[in-house]
Structure formats: C-alpha cells, structure tokens
Amino acid sequence: MAKLSVEEVKHVAKLARLAITDEEAEKFATQLGAITDFANELQELDTTDVVPTTHVLPVHNVFREDIPAKGLDRDLMMKNVKEQQDGLVKVPPIIAQ
C-alpha cells in the first residue's frame, strides 16, 4: 500500500471531524501513505502471544476518601466559553430544520 486512497483519507478526516479539501486529501494521501508504508515494517516481527503494552507501569484504580469538597466555580468555568447565555453554553442548531 504505497498510498492511501483519497477516499480513505476523506473517510478518516470525517471520523476525526476535520473538514478537508480535495487538494488536502491528495497531499495527505501521499504523506500518510509514506508513514503507513514505513509502519508496515512492524509486520516483519512475529508477535504471536506477545501481550500488548498499554501502560509501562502497573496501573490500577486509585481510590480516595469520599469527602465532599467544593468544585470549581461555575462562572469561572464559563470564562473561556465563546458564546453563552444565562450560564449555558450556546451552540448553533444541533438538528437540521
């Protein structure tokens, strides 16, 4: 697989919520193709029965005492919201009319 197809790139961009032009899709198809080509060298390795590593150190659930504490102030949390109204985040229509 020397190159991802333009359709594949457009599909991936859609999954990742990235608007993409035809020209960009062409460029990324070549670049991602080169990267996945390179990544294919991993297939040389026999990894039968090798356990995948998601974390290098043993990770386990960390518990704490359930003591009520004050959270962040709501007005403060709204500080970086671009559009808001009555303490709510405002967005354009979610469902097409």
């Binding site: 991802l4 594949e8 790139v9 991936v12 961009a13 999954l15 990742a16 919520r17 990235l18 608007a19 993409i20 990324f28 670049q31 991602l32 080169a34 990267i35 996945t36 390179f38 990544a39 060298e41 991993l42 297939q43 390795l45 990894t47 090798v50 356990v51 995948p52 590593t53 998601t54 974390h55 290098v56 150190l57 990770v59 659930n61 960390v62 704490r64 962040l72 403060l76 949390m77 500080k79 970086n80 919201v81 671009k82 559009e83 985040v89 967005v91 354009p92 229509p93 979610i94 097409a96």
Partner: protein, 486 residues
C-alpha cells in the same frame, strides 16, 4: 557577562551576600528576553507585571525560609496550564485560552518559590522535532539562527541556551526534552513515566508524556526535578514512589559503574561527527572508573514505527476535546457538525491533522489489529529489551540524536525525514524509563548530546553519571556567541 552565568547555588550565595536581589534576577530575565528573543523566538507570553511584583515580595522573605530554587526565574512550556497566563500549545485552536487552574508542576514551582517569567514556544501540541510546527512563530537555535532548536520543547531549550532564563520546564513524549537539549547544548531530563504529575499538561499521548526540567548544568536539573516530582492525587498515573534527594547523589564517583552501549545506537544513520564525540565521552566514563560493554537492544529499529502509531492514536483521542465549544478558537457555522469540522480544520496545523488522521486510521476497524495492537505488542518487546540490559547494567549510554541541529526549513514537506530524528529517543518513552541529554562536545560548531538512560525511578543514578562527566569536562560552560548581550 550575565547573572545567568552563575549556577543556582552561586545565585543563592549572591542573594545571601546581598550582592543581588530577586528583583534583579527577574529584571535580568526580561532584559535578556528583550535583547535576544526577537531573534531566538523562545517566548510566547510574558508574565512581567505579576513576576516583578512577586519578585519584590519574595525579596522580603527571610533566608532561613528559602529553598535552593527560591526566587529563581523559570520559563514554562506552553502546553502546561498556568492560571492567569494565556496557554495556547502554540496552536491557533487555543488562541486566547486563559486557564482557570494551574498544573500541579506549576503549583510546585510556586511552593519552591520560583518566579514564572513566561510561557515558552513549542511545536503545536508538542508534535514536531524542529519547532517549525508552532502556529505562532519559529524558534531559532542560539548557536546558529539558521538552524532548528529541536522540538517539541524548542523554546524551552533555546531560552536556556541563550541565557534568557536559567530554568525551563519542557515535556517529552518521544524525545521532546532531550532532542532540543542536545541541539541547543543544554541539560534536559525526561523522568520515569509517572515520576512527575501530568495534571495540567495538555495531553498529547497519555501513556508516553512526561514533564521534565531543562537547565545549563546537571545539579540545577536535579534540584528542579526534585521540586516537581512526586505522587499527585490529581493524576492517577503518577507513581507513589518516594522522591529521593537527587543532589545528595552527585558524588562525582562512578567507579565500578556498569555502562551498556547499545550497538544499534551507534549504527548506520548516526553521523561520524556525533559518533566521535559520543565515543570520546564513553572513553571519559571509562577513565572515571566505569566499565563499559557493548550490548544489543534488538528491537530498536521498530521503535519509531511503533511510537508514531501509538502516540498518534492516543493523540487522535486526546485532541477530540478541541471542538470550539468550551474554549479557544470557534469557527463560524450554521450547524453544530459544521462548527466541529470547520473549527478543527481552521484551528489545527498540518502536522497535528496528519497525526490525528494517522491515529484515527490506526484505530479504525480493519486496521486496528495490524497497526495499533501490533504497535503495542512491539512496545512490549522494546520494553523487554531494556529490562534485560538493566538486569546487568546500571545505565545505558549513547547519542541523543543521529546528527546535530539541521537547517530550518530543510525538511518541511517530508514528515518521514523529520520523524527519523527521533530514532534514538522514542524507545525510551515506549519503555517508560528515564533518560537525560547532556552536552558532550561539538560537531561543526554545533552541540552534540550524550544520552544516559537509567532504570525505572533511578534518575539519581543518571544524575550521578551526568554530574561526574560534567565535573570532568567543560562542555557545559560553552556558550553561544549570542550569549553576550551588547
């Protein structure tokens, strides 16, 4: 001459002798930033008013209440959130973002009494090896302004190399502290995964990211790591392992230390100039009483591919939070779906998009097993390589980068060539072990970095080796011509 010629210990002595004040140190940082940063490009946001006020207040604190870093200026990488100081990750998508809390490391800097001078430049979302992916401006290597400072903590390394500040924090996902430290001739430590809290570090690849210190000498580096390390209730992956005194371990004595040199780290692809300096450094370690053997980390050649798949996959998930709704840039759109699509298309740069798409692709049904799962299995093999060598040896030593700093603009359209730069640093993140880069010579007038890799949570041993080398050599005292401000 600059106040920042001095080490932190010398600065504390000068403060105690009333030769200087903390206000002078802060002033010196801003004066040098004023004079140099137009060309270096290391700083994104300055915290001048607050810092000067803090400095004046700190001058009133009695000496017996001060620690070894008290009053000293520091720059913080712009992917570490700082309450009250704009934090952008050098991305358009976080334009104008003002954090409402500070990262744990920033709180720890405050506890240590350090003065945060400002935020330093980086590759957008820490994705890059030349700092050319900053959406704000390029960083130039203080040793040669035409060359890259490395990345992604290019601003952190360049700011220290130019003497704008004596300390910075960087973050390292695949070499982002060590590679720029090597390119800029400074000391950069990537601690063990879990050693430093990641709370408030804008996540790139959560299973690989670590925050670490960049300084001009080993002792100062050890002091800063001591200040920021430790378990944190806000980060469940931070390790509940005691933080020892690293400075106490700087004995200068490495007699009998067992050093492993992986043959793969001096193989094809490593330039002759870099190889020569690193081999000379290894000779120096022998002179100091270490025993040195050649070993093999047989899966090294697969690390780069595994790294780019794993880190991009994690990034594609982590960066989904940037949707234009709650913070940062928001594109104009008539409906929510378009708002997401346009905000992300206009807000992210090309390298970030490439990685998000590579990650999304690797995690997709149909490719998951061949890419993501396979890369995680290879990660296991790489970790086992290190485990095996560390059964017999105390540290692993090699170059930090295959070459010295390359020219800016050289590899802009060729991501794979830039990625290849990380070949000697990414295996360390995949294994999660700690590693430092220290200056060990010059090749064509550009600094060469020596990488010293240690066992899990044995940063102290790394510092002991690095410090012994530093005491026996003079490379850390070399300064770029730009250091002298007229």
């Amino acid at each position: 001459m600059s106040l920042f010629d001095k080490t932190s210990a010398e600065l504390q002595q000068a403060l105690l002798n009333k030769e200087i004040t903390i206000a002078d140190l802060t002033k010196e940082a801003y004066a040098r930033i004023d004079a140099l940063d137009g060309e270096v490009g290391a700083f994104l946001a300055l915290n001048k008013e607050a810092a000067e006020q803090e400095a004046a207040e700190k001058d009133q604190v009695p000496f017996e209440e001060r620690g070894p870093l008290f009053g000293l200026p520091i720059g913080v990488k712009d992917n570490i959130v700082t309450e009250g100081i704009e934090t952008t990750c050098a991305s358009k998508i976080l334009e104008g973002f003002n954090p409402i809390y500070s990262a744990t490391v920033v709180e720890k800097l405050r506890e240590a009494g350090m003065v945060t001078v400002g935020k330093v430049n980086m590759d957008e979302f820490a994705m890059g090896s030349a700092n050319e992916n900053s959406a704000i401006k390029k960083v130039h290597n203080p040793w040669d302004f035409d060359r890259a400072p490395g990345g992604s903590s290019g601003g952190s390394a360049a700011a220290v190399a130019a003497g704008e500040v004596p300390f910075t924090l960087g973050s390292d996902t695949g070499g982002s502290i060590r590679q720029p430290a090597a390119f800029c001739g400074v000391v950069g430590m990537k601690p063990t995964y879990g050693r430093v809290s990641r709370y408030g570090l804008v996540a790139f690849a959560s299973s690989l990211d670590q925050i670490g210190p960049i300084t001009r000498n080993v002792r100062d580096n050890a002091l800063l790591l001591e200040a920021i390390a430790g378990v944190d209730e806000h980060d469940s992956t931070s390790a509940n392992v005691e933080v020892p005194s690293y400075v106490d371990q700087l004995t200068g004595d490495i007699k009998g230390l067992k050093v492993a040199v992986p043959q793969e780290y001096l193989a094809e692809g490593v330039s002759e100039g870099v190889k020569a300096q690193v081999l000379a450094a290894i000779e120096k370690l022998k002179e100091l009483g270490a025993t040195v053997d050649t070993v093999s980390l047989p899966h090294s050649k697969y690390a780069l591919a595994a790294y780019y798949i794993i880190s991009s996959s994690e990034a594609s998930s982590n960066l989904s939070r940037f949707d234009g709704i709650r913070y940062g840039f928001r594109a104009e759109a008539d409906n929510l779906e378009d708002l997401y699509l346009q905000t992300r298309a206009q807000g992210f740069g090309d390298e970030v998009k490439r990685r998000i798409m590579l990650g999304t692709y690797s995690l997709s049904a149909g490719t998951y097993d061949a890419y993501y799962k396979k890369a995680q299995q290879v990660r296991t093999l790489i970790k086992q390589d290190f485990d095996k060598v560390f059964e017999e040896y105390d540290v692993i030593v090699g170059p930090t980068t295959p070459t010295t700093a390359f020219k800016l603009g050289e590899n802009l359209d060729d991501p794979m060539t830039v990625y290849a730069n990380d070949i000697l640093t990414v295996p360390i993140n995949l294994a999660g072990v700690p590693a430092i880069s220290i200056p060990c010579g010059f090749d064509n007038n550009m600094p060469v970095g020596l990488q010293i890799i240690g066992k899990y949570f044995e940063e102290g041993t790394i510092y002991r080796v690095a410090d012994a080398f530093e005491k026996a050599t003079d490379f850390h005292n070399a300064k770029p011509q730009t250091w002298e401000v007229k």
